[in-house]
């Protein structure tokens, strides 16, 4: 649930003294790993391994930035759309890292959905996370989500499909193909109907898992994500 998700994050930051940047790095890296499993390079339909990463203004967006950087390291060609940049200095550095790695930043998101379908193999939805308020209200998120609802290429949502209520799910929101749950699946994940659901929770200390009754799956080998 949303309250539990917040409590877990609080415990990691305050009791375990994880740094926020550290956690975002861990999550972003894990998301990139999940994406490479869901869409391996040789399986991509387009000639270039292009991926559009749409980043929202808060933490979910920052995770998207880190994810994009790791996708670049893994030889994908990410392009980022990050219209409302966070003023938080922690997140600003993530932007610089991406820019300095020659990851292009779009100046606008085409409303002509066919352009997106034609240019990219997949879209990473890092717009809104568990911390967001329900609904798709504020700009520019509303317009972005309206466009994403109509894309034909697969969408990978990070943690929570943007626009969904964290607990109740969605009626008429975006329909991601792949969901990567961070730490543990949120309640709305029960409404997820897409192809693959990954959990990126290997870094969670055992005691946190127990305390919140997370019952995580087994992670093979040294993998940081696992498909449910």
């Amino acid at each position: 649930s949303k309250a539990e998700a917040e409590a877990i994050e609080k415990e990691l930051l305050e009791d375990y003294r994880f740094g926020r940047q550290q956690l975002i790095e861990i999550w972003g890296h894990a998301c990139a790993m999940a994406i490479t499993k869901a869409f391996p390079l040789p399986s991509l339909p387009r000639k270039q391994p292009t991926v559009l990463v749409v980043c929202g203004p808060a933490q979910n967006g920052a995770i998207g930035l880190v994810c994009a950087r790791h996708l670049r390291i893994f030889d994908y060609e990410p392009t980022i759309f990050y219209p409302k940049r966070s003023l938080d200095p922690l997140y600003r550095d993530f932007t610089t890292q991406c820019e300095k790695m020659d990851i292009p930043f779009l100046s606008y998101l085409p409303t002509e959905v066919q352009l997106i379908n034609d240019a990219y193999n997949a879209v990473v939805d890092a717009v809104l996370g568990a911390e967001a308020e329900a609904g798709e209200g504020r700009e520019p998120c509303a317009a972005i989500l309206a466009t994403l609802k109509h894309v034909r290429i697969p969408i990978v949502s990070l943690d929570v499909p943007s626009g969904w209520d964290v607990e109740a799910g969605s009626s008429g929101g975006i329909s991601p193909d792949v969901l990567v749950s961070l730490s543990a699946p949120k309640q709305c994940a029960r409404r997820f109907l897409g192809r693959q659901h990954f959990v990126a929770g290997r870094f969670l200390p055992y005691d946190v898992q127990k305390k919140f009754e997370l019952n995580p799956p087994e992670y093979p080998g040294t993998e940081c994500v696992v498909a449910l």
């Binding site: 060609e77 392009t79 790695m101 020659d102 040294t222």
Partner: protein
Amino acid sequence: RGDPSCPGPRRAGARLGFEAPRAAILPPSFPRQEEAQAIDQELFTEYKFSVDQLMELAGLSCATAIAKAYPPSSFTTSQPAVLVVCGPGNNGGDGLVCARHLKMFGYEPTVYYPKRPNKPLFEGLTTQCQKMDIPFLPEFPAEAALIDELYGLVVDAIFGFSFTGAVREPFGSILGTLERITVPIASIDIPSGWDVEKGKADGLQPDMLISLTAPKKAAMHFAGRYHFLGGRFVPAALQKKYALNLPPYPETDCVLQL
């Protein structure tokens, strides 16, 4: 600014494997200490990476390399017990991250961390380990034989590529003991006590070296069984600038066996 109708920068096939012939001919370069420090500096000042981020990726690489070379099933001790010896600087921090990931990979790490910097980064990493029930030894095992008995592997996270000058206590005695153990040692970045460029013939002889970012000159003197490259975060432009000629990492692995 990018235009959505022409996605992705042009990179003449470089990312799709067409560069293989060029990469095969040039060997990896072995940066000297100053170059290694310059690369690090550029990652922090130009690329705006934080120490937190890179340390997390570095420590993960170390743990992953260890898991590949010394899987838990290969240990003769009853538990896959690993002693992680952390020094007073960033190499020690890498060791703390490594210890945490080793625990998650099913090992039983124990840390010895005698000189702890008074900085939130290191305090946070220490807390993360302690709260994950990773014991911190109050003192270093007195005898090499004791280490051999209790642990199947020792991780040397004492000194890294910034090390110069004389070894200060307690690390002198620690290295003395480590030079006498028979269980394998995995050194992070530089075998501790070695000159970063010239090595040290009578110093530690680790079985594994995990070179971070790029192998330093000292790595040319490494004679152990396993040399891994880790720290898969160096942007392509930086690799080119310093002519690192790093071989490509396999798929999404964060380590590469050299």
